[in-house]
Amino acid sequence: MAPQLPKDQLLSMYRKMYLIRRFEERAAQSYQQGKINGFCHLYIGQEAVAVGTTEALRPDDYQLGAYRDHAYPLTRGADPGMVMAELFGRATGYCKGKGGSMHIFDVEHFVLGGYGIVGGQIPLAAGLAFASKYRDDGRVTVCYFGEAAANQGAFHETLNMASKWSLPVIFLCENNRYGMGTAFARVSPLPEVYKRASAYGIRGEPVDGMDVLTVYEAVKDCAAYARSGKGPVLLEANTYRYRGHSMSDAATYRTKAEVETERKGDPIPKLRHYCVETVKIPESEFEKIDAEVKAQVDAAVKFADESPEPSLDELHEDVMVEPGEPDVKPRERVLGIKVDWPVWPGPKDYKVTWDLEPREQAEEADEKAGLKQPAKQPARA
């Protein structure tokens, strides 16, 4: 077991996990009240993964995931009211209500979206990591994806490139054991996703996704590894979702009993118990946090509920960007506060020092293959 973490850090992790839990419960409620529509995928049960991960990263490391994405911005300090407003489809949402539950972007906090096409975010992650290596900005990218996405061609093509070019990216598989109604083992001969790392010659390992401290340690180690230039990691967090695949899935197909058993592994009480029993943090502090979070989430729902619908002027906005048009900074736009916004280096701001493929290396490979110098005329096809 890793060295004990400072009390404040433990409490902040607890607070974040409970924030997500509470946020999702109220989102579920709001969905039932018809205030949220379409697809809404809850993160309940998986909190330890996002919280442990974010805790282990630099605040400016990139994160992106699939459509089960409410937790990602919340772990990064996004405004819960504005995330809820996005779920409500209101003008005050992070994406002006255009993306909704499945597509939450909080660029201020380097959370680069939730994506609806299974596996679609995986190549993007390689691109983010490519940019980091290209600019040598020391960032690591964390790409969350469900285990079912590992059967997409995009997974294969991306891991191959990420490995070949030693891109600083952690492919973080949130294995909650099924995609919609299909148990992963039913469609995958090799149900342990991390084992696929061998096909790409990269580091791969499983981690208990129901224990935030274990996730934290694992991601910290993987991030250091990737950041140091050793290449990508395929990290498989074994977790469980307590709710149906989405709100439109009542998940009646699961027995109470079975969910109860799982609840015993609930990462939130687990951390709390550890803090109280081992670290000797008084219960009262947790009661205080619970109360504060409840109030915070109530306020978030209230904020969303009282927020206006987007104006119709928004219809043609953001489809194309006009010359000189700035990017939209959600918290500035909505809350009127000044925020630090990522600035990407300009045309002359840096030089590329990365030698993606040293010439000797390329020539050696060519020789082995039987190639000599580049063809003089079109080699096509």
Binding site: V107, A129, M161, P347, D349, A381
Partner: protein, 329 residues
Amino acid sequence: MPEIAWREALNQALSEEMERDVNVFLMGEEVARYNGAYKVSQGLLDKFGSARVVDAPISELGFAGLGVGAAMVGLRPVIEMMTWNFAILAMDQIVNNAAKLRHMAGGQLRCPIVFRGPNGAGGRLSSQHSQSLEANYAIFPGLKILAPSTPADAKGLLKAAIRDDNPSIFLEAELLYGVKGEVPTGEYVLPIGKADLKREGNDATIITWSRMYYFCEQAAQALEKEGIHVDLIDLRTLKPLDEEAILASVRKTNRAVVVEEGWSFCGVGAQIADIIQEKAFDDLDAPVERVTGLDVNRSYAAVLEKATEVSAERIVAAVKKVMYREEGT
């Protein structure tokens, strides 16, 4: 102005933009060590190094998506597709991510990326390798579609596309790479969305883009010998479409022929014909005619392939038809 071939014009555009902006990089199959399947990237690896000119595995979906991800954080990738036939594998990343990112994010980011490569026929390559696929991208909001015909336009528009903050589809053609034309040296950037009236005449309007321009020019010359003078509109950009240029000309000539290399059914030409019939209905003296590739799978055999293709003769006949002139009179 020096006369250079299409491939050199593209090479100049790439080289100049990479000089100008360190954020621009080129990725694709065979682009680096072998200088491009069509030698468009000749010399770029030596000039810019292996991180800016990258040989990709044959993973179109993967490296297209990699480009989109890099563009999200301010790089300006140029992704070369060896041909657009293969890019069908990458379509999800292009239309579901690149074209939608800024909108899904409520304007928090942009996606300045160019997907480029040859579209249309390569000559004697049978059906899988000979497709004109512009319509498949033109339908999606969020993308710009460029399809120039001359080396100069190719250079000016590729530079513009690389500088544009929106994702764009840049269509070249295997059969154009060797075509020569005068090209301004150095800084030469053309506006996206502006058609070019390459010939003026009052009798009819021919509307086309990409390689078909040369067939139309041929036809126009033949028509001139018969005293028929046409406006020849080279769209250069398919989206955003220069409606004004099209409508202004049709209002003048009252007759329009739309020429495209690809299939007729649901081709981009249908959209252009629809715009004309809707917005210039009362100006039309004849239905808009379309000259397109035949609606069948393309064959390898020379005679069959030829019979599926657009020809100057067919364009001439179409112009005469909208002028109600009998063939040969």
